[in-house]
């Protein structure tokens, strides 16, 4: 199994969810984060104080999938999150050692978005 972590623009969150839904990926959690990935820093002004906002708001998606589902997931995340401008975000894939579904006690592949049924 793999854990797919994607950092995306907050304004693309609904598009990413839609793409994941279309790809029949059912389990996902998101977190609002702040990050910096090489995009232009913007300047804001509060009365006399000008500040350079180094960190931009981002949203982190975490999706645990079985190996066979990995490419579909990555594809869906890219489709949903891409605008073509700097700051679209990144996807990190890491190996998962063990997964347990708390409700049923199912483990590993049975506990994540299942292998694609061909």
């Amino acid at each position: 199994m793999k854990l797919v972590t994607a950092i995306v623009r907050p304004e693309r969150v609904n598009d990413v969810l839609e793409a994941l839904y279309r790809a029949e990926i059912s389990g996902v959690s998101i977190t609002r984060i702040q990050g910096h990935g090489g995009e232009l820093e913007r300047v804001e002004n509060y009365r006399g104080t000008s500040v350079q906002m180094v960190l931009a708001d981002k949203t982190r998606f975490e999706v645990a999938v079985s190996d066979g589902f990995l490419e579909t997931t990555i594809e869906a995340l890219c489709t949903g999150a891409r605008t073509g401008e700097v700051g679209d975000g990144k996807i990190f894939v890491t190996e998962l050692e063990r997964v347990v579904r708390i409700r049923t006690g199912e483990t590993d592949d049975a506990a994540v978005t299942p292998e694609r049924r061909v």
């Binding site: 304004e11 702040q34 804001e44 509060y46 000008s50 350079q52 906002m53």
Partner: protein
């Protein structure tokens, strides 16, 4: 100051302050209904009304509305406050200057109301241009028709505190503005919901409070009509709340808070034209009646392609229209000393009210439509999809409503200038 009544003047000073409060209250109400990233921009559209309409009213708007008794529009003799001083206007007991300021707060509020149709996407500078022109070309004309001795007033159409210029004027202009500016990105595809229901509730409460000056002050003194309007403004929204609760409960077995805030606005709007003309009992009835068309308009509108975002048409246009017609049915001389309505044997009044309800929306819609089309020839009304996605606050104001402060570095050079989009 000869001819001045101190009691009347004291109350209208207070009422002017109350109406002034309604514009920032509306800012709060509107800001709660938009997404986080557009909070400041939405509030700023309301504050902008002070900047443009406050000045244009002194320069020319007041004169166009209240100078002379031309049928369609007033004259220019009061332009730049000429002849507006401490002596009262004919038939009034408060200083002319105070009357000017009281009416000015109405114009400012109405301009802010129209902004509700185009929040979350219209560029700020074109909005300023629109608001300035609208406050000269639309509001004063409608105000003249019913308050300044224009053709509707001459026919006998009754409008106590602004059903024509404020409520129908803003509501039908909002529809035109929404059509010209177009729907928000992702409208109808994704749920675009408000970010702070508490702002909406507090805003509605402050609006109601201010409305007591708006309607209660429209008697221009301490008199029966003013007192009646004040009390009716207390009663009418209460009845609207009752019916709104019922409709909400029947529809989803839940009574919503944002719905309640909307009901308060709808009730106060409905009583605005009718305040000084109908009995308190009929005011309660009006509150209940007005809830019906407005409730269904608000349920139906988001299912259409018309992104009239904050439902100014439903909450103001439709409610104001209901109030205008209601006067024609239930007005009674024993309460208002002016005219009876249909149920007291006078059908003519209803015809005059119906005429206003037909013509005022047409003028507001048509003038706003042409005005915005004209501005669009000079400069684009909205920015790119990317800008809209980032939010109006960062793009047009360089601020956020809720900055975290994390990752914010002190910056010592001049702020950068954003590139303007190319004209289309």
């Amino acid at each position: 100051m000869t001819g001045i009544d101190t009691g009347d003047t004291a109350w209208i000073l207070m009422a002017t302050a109350l109406v002034l409060l309604m514009t920032p209250a509306l800012g709060l109400f509107y800001a709660g209904l938009v997404r986080e990233k557009n909070t400041l921009n939405t509030f700023m559209m309301c504050l902008a009304a002070f900047a443009v309409a406050g000045v244009s009213w002194a320069a020319i708007g007041y004169s166009l509305a209240f100078d002379g008794d031309g049928a369609l529009v007033g004259g220019l003799d009061h332009a730049f406050l000429a002849g507006v001083d401490f002596a009262p206007r004919e038939g009034q007991t408060i200083p002319h200057l105070l009357f000017f300021a009281f009416q000015g707060t109405f114009c400012i509020l109405t301009v802010a109301l129209v902004g509700g149709a185009v929040v979350e996407r219209m560029r700020f500078v074109p909005f300023l241009a629109f608001a300035a022109l609208w406050s000269i070309l639309v509001y004063p004309v409608l105000a003249h028709w019913v308050f300044g001795g224009g053709w509707l007033a001459a026919r006998g159409t009754l409008d106590f505190a602004g059903g024509v210029p404020v409520e129908m004027g803003s509501g039908f202009s909002a529809l035109a503005a929404a059509l010209v500016v177009g729907a928000r990105k992702d409208y109808g595809r994704q749920a675009l919901i408000g970010h702070n229901a508490m702002f909406v509730l507090v805003g509605a409460g402050l609006l109601w409070f201010g409305w007591l000056g708006f309607n209660g002050g429209s008697g221009l003194g301490i008199n029966q009509a003013g007192i009646l309007a004040f009390v009716n403004t207390v009663l009418c929204p209460c009845a609207t709340l009752v019916v709104w609760f019922l409709l909400d409960y029947l529809r989803g077995r839940q009574v919503t808070a944002v719905g309640a805030a909307t009901a308060i606005i709808v009730g106060a709007v409905a009583i605005t034209p009718a305040g000084g003309f109908i009995s308190p009992g009929w005011a309660l009835a009006l509150g209940g009646v007005a809830a019906l068309p407005c409730y269904f308009a608000i349920q139906w509108r988001p299912r259409t392609r018309v992104d009239e975002t904050l439902d100014v048409l439903a909450a103001h246009g439709i409610a104001g229209l209901t109030g205008m017609l209601f006067i024609g049915v239930v007005a009674s001389v024993s309460w208002n000393g002016v005219a009876d309505g249909l149920i007291y044997g006078n059908a003519d009044l209803l015809l005059d009210q119906a005429l206003a309800v037909l013509v005022a929306p047409l003028y507001a819609f048509g003038a706003t439509f042409l005005l915005l089309r004209g501005i669009a020839l000079v400069t684009p009304l909205r920015g790119s999809e990317t800008e809209e996605a980032q939010g109006m606050d960062i793009i047009h104001h360089g601020e956020e409503a809720y900055p975290t402060g994390e990752g914010a570095l002190l910056f010592r050079t001049e702020p950068t200038r954003r590139e303007e989009p190319a004209s289309v």
